[in-house]
């Protein structure tokens, strides 16, 4: 359960968020949709605790990030905007490092790593250094990192960007499985197919504000457009930044 309340954030003269409010429910996949530069990444960065809002609050399972950042971060699994890897560490060492940072360790952590390796089909490169990994392999390691502590809330910033068809389908299948476990899933995208294929609910954000919030059908009905893409354009009021 994630709640964002009236988030404001400016970088110098640039206003990135101007009052963003929405909830993300458990057992649902919620898509955060918006053109490039709409403020998606800024909102998520505030949510996962690397940026502080100028105003407003973000809570995870009722835990306020401003008051207890570490406690809130413990409840989140995050695939961040920049998901670089350490080229001299193996995939397994990545999972172990970030598992330990979540306070896990010992045989339980090692078993969890094996479980994730099976889930994400990492067997063949699990013990190779990540230098020279393909996009798909890198993303699997990053996803493994996000899930290593078995979080109830999962936040992903453009999880399928740069992936081929097979990789995209695998990620979608994984997100559905996590939802069916009753987890709270929030992901950002600017790709329309992603939303129609996956989302139970869409939050559309443009120019730092929420301009639409509902199921894909709600969105189509509210804007009176047949295709989701047209509905999206109608909601944000222009065609800028459509990918």
């Amino acid at each position: 359960m994630i709640q964002l309340r009236d988030l404001h954030k400016s970088f110098g003269p640039v206003r990135a968020l101007a009052g963003v409010t929405f909830d993300v429910a458990d057992g649902r996949i919620t898509g955060l949709l918006g053109p490039n530069g709409a403020g998606k990444t800024t909102a998520l960065r505030i949510l996962y605790g690397v940026l502080d809002p100028d105003r407003g609050s973000a809570t995870v399972d009722g835990v306020d990030l401003a008051a207890s950042r570490l406690e809130a971060q413990r409840r989140l699994g995050v695939l961040p905007h920049s998901h670089g890897l350490y080229p001299r560490l193996t995939a397994r060492e990545h999972l172990r490092y970030f598992g330990r940072l979540h306070g896990r360790g010992g045989p339980a952590l090692e078993a969890r790593i094996e479980e994730l390796a099976a889930l994400l089909d990492m067997g063949e490169f699990l013990d190779r250094r990540t230098d020279g990994f393909s996009q798909g392999q890198k993303l699997k390691v990053a996803l493994g990192k996000a899930l290593v502590h078995d979080p109830r809330n999962v936040v992903l910033d453009e999880p399928t960007s740069g992936l081929d068809v097979a990789g995209t389908r695998a990620v979608r299948a994984l997100l559905r499985r996590l939802r069916d476990d009753g987890r709270c899933i929030l992901f950002s995208t600017h790709v329309m197919q992603e939303v129609s294929a996956l989302c139970d609910r869409v939050v559309v954000i443009a120019r730092g504000q929420v301009v639409a919030d509902g199921t894909p059908d709600d969105l189509r009905r509210a804007t009176g457009r047949e295709s989701l893409e047209d509905a999206f354009v109608a909601a944000i009021g222009s065609e800028e930044g459509l990918g």
């Binding site: 989140l76 920049s82 490092y97």
Partner: protein, 392 residues
């Protein structure tokens, strides 16, 4: 200050950087430079000293026929008088001869008249390697001059001592340790360099490198206090620097043992106790250097920029000592408050075999430790700042 998971981050940074060839080379190979340079310097000095003492002075004399008595005296004093080349000045200039003694034809006549008889010693004052030979030739010539002069005075019924207004006696207070200290004066700077270079790549890799690889944000979104992250990076840097410092000190300790220095009139007492004292003396400075490097590197735009800044940073501690090497000065307690300068001056005195007051050492270490703690706190603060972590 919360420091959960500091050990997890530290262990990862150390393991990661031990796999980095550059980081390991900087920590392990670079510190060998000082001891190797010292060993080379000593063997060059040793060879020169030996050749100057053991070889007879080869003295080319032009116009030896004009001064048979002088030549006989020189031979008696141990010089190997040989035929001079046709062009004495050209030969010295070209480096074929270290020196040439030229006796002009009028030598005999002037000598008989009791007037100063001219001789010319052709040398190149700037040639360091010829110094010993030139000094010996000068000493021989003035000995003959004094002896002949004394004979003339006695012939006139004057006591030769009347011609000596001064009884000059030079008392050389240099000890074998202090003579060696002159050669060891480069040691302090190598210790400072080790302290900076040892962890340099780790400081860059764990900060600017982390940012460039885009792993900084993934790290900081984990439930780890920022202080832990900052301190782990300083600690990893300090560990590599400690390795470099220890290696440098052990290296310098082994050089005197490997070379026959006592025979050359040098004595270096780099005994284990003194080496350990030097190691301890440099530890607060080491922490200061590591914290400073992390602070500078985390603000750099990228790996290359950080590298440039840190290379420059390394030169700064050399400046005060380099300036004061040219100006004589007396060590004052307040100088201990200048980080790196205090340590360098104290270790210089240690290797010269001079007593170093425990109070001065404590003052120097205390001052550096204080600066180090302030810098560590500043680094922790910087890691908390959203702008320095994610600002453009």
């Amino acid at each position: 200050m919360r420091l959960d998971h500091l050990g997890v981050v530290l262990r990862k940074e150390v393991a990661d950087n031990l796999r980095d060839r550059r980081a390991v080379a900087m920590a392990l190979l670079f510190p060998l430079l000082g001891p190797v340079l010292l060993a080379v310097t000593f063997s060059v000095v040793a060879r020169q000293a030996r050749s100057a003492e053991e070889r007879p002075l080869t003295l080319p004399v032009a116009g030896a026929d004009h001064a048979p008595h002088l030549v006989q005296f020189l031979r008696g004093a141990g010089a190997d008088v040989v035929e001079a080349p046709a062009d004495p000045e050209g030969a010295v200039r070209a480096g074929d001869r270290d020196l040439v003694l030229v006796v002009p034809p009028e030598f005999g006549a002037r000598l008989r008249e009791g007037r100063p008889a001219p001789v010319r010693l052709v040398i190149d004052e700037s040639r360091q390697s010829a110094h010993a030979a030139v000094e010996r030739a000068r000493a021989m010539l003035s000995a003959w001059s004094r002896q002949t002069g004394a004979l003339r005075l006695m012939a006139r019924g004057v006591h030769p001592a009347a011609a000596e207004a001064l009884a000059l006696e030079t008392v050389d207070l240099s000890t074998p340790e202090s003579r060696a200290g002159l050669l060891l004066s480069m040691l302090p700077y190598f210790l400072v360099v080790a302290v900076f270079v040892g962890g340099m790549y780790v400081a860059i890799d764990t900060t600017a490198g982390e940012r460039e690889r885009q792993t900084l944000e993934p790290l900081l979104l984990h439930p780890v206090p920022r202080e832990s992250v900052a301190l782990a990076k300083v600690a990893a840097t300090a560990l590599f620097a400690t390795l470099a410092l220890a290696e440098t000190i052990v290296g310098f300790g082994l050089v005197p043992a490997a070379l026959p220095l006592e025979r050359l009139g040098f004595s270096i007492r780099l005994d284990p106790g003194m080496l350990l004292r030097t190691f301890v003396l440099f530890l607060p400075l080491l922490l200061l250097a590591s914290a400073l490097q992390v602070l500078v590197a985390v603000r750099a735009r990228g790996f290359k920029a950080a590298q440039a800044s840190l290379s420059f940073l390394m030169l700064v501690p050399a400046l005060p000592s380099a300036v004061l090497a040219l100006v004589p000065f007396k060590l004052r307690p307040w100088m201990m408050l200048v980080p790196s300068f205090g340590e360098q001056q104290l270790v210089l005195r240690l290797v010269r075999g001079e007593p170093v007051a425990a109070g001065l050492q404590a003052l120097s270490m205390g001052a550096s430790a204080l600066y180090a703690l302030l810098l560590v706190a500043a680094a922790a603060r910087l890691f908390r700042s959203e702008r320095s972590m994610f600002g453009k």
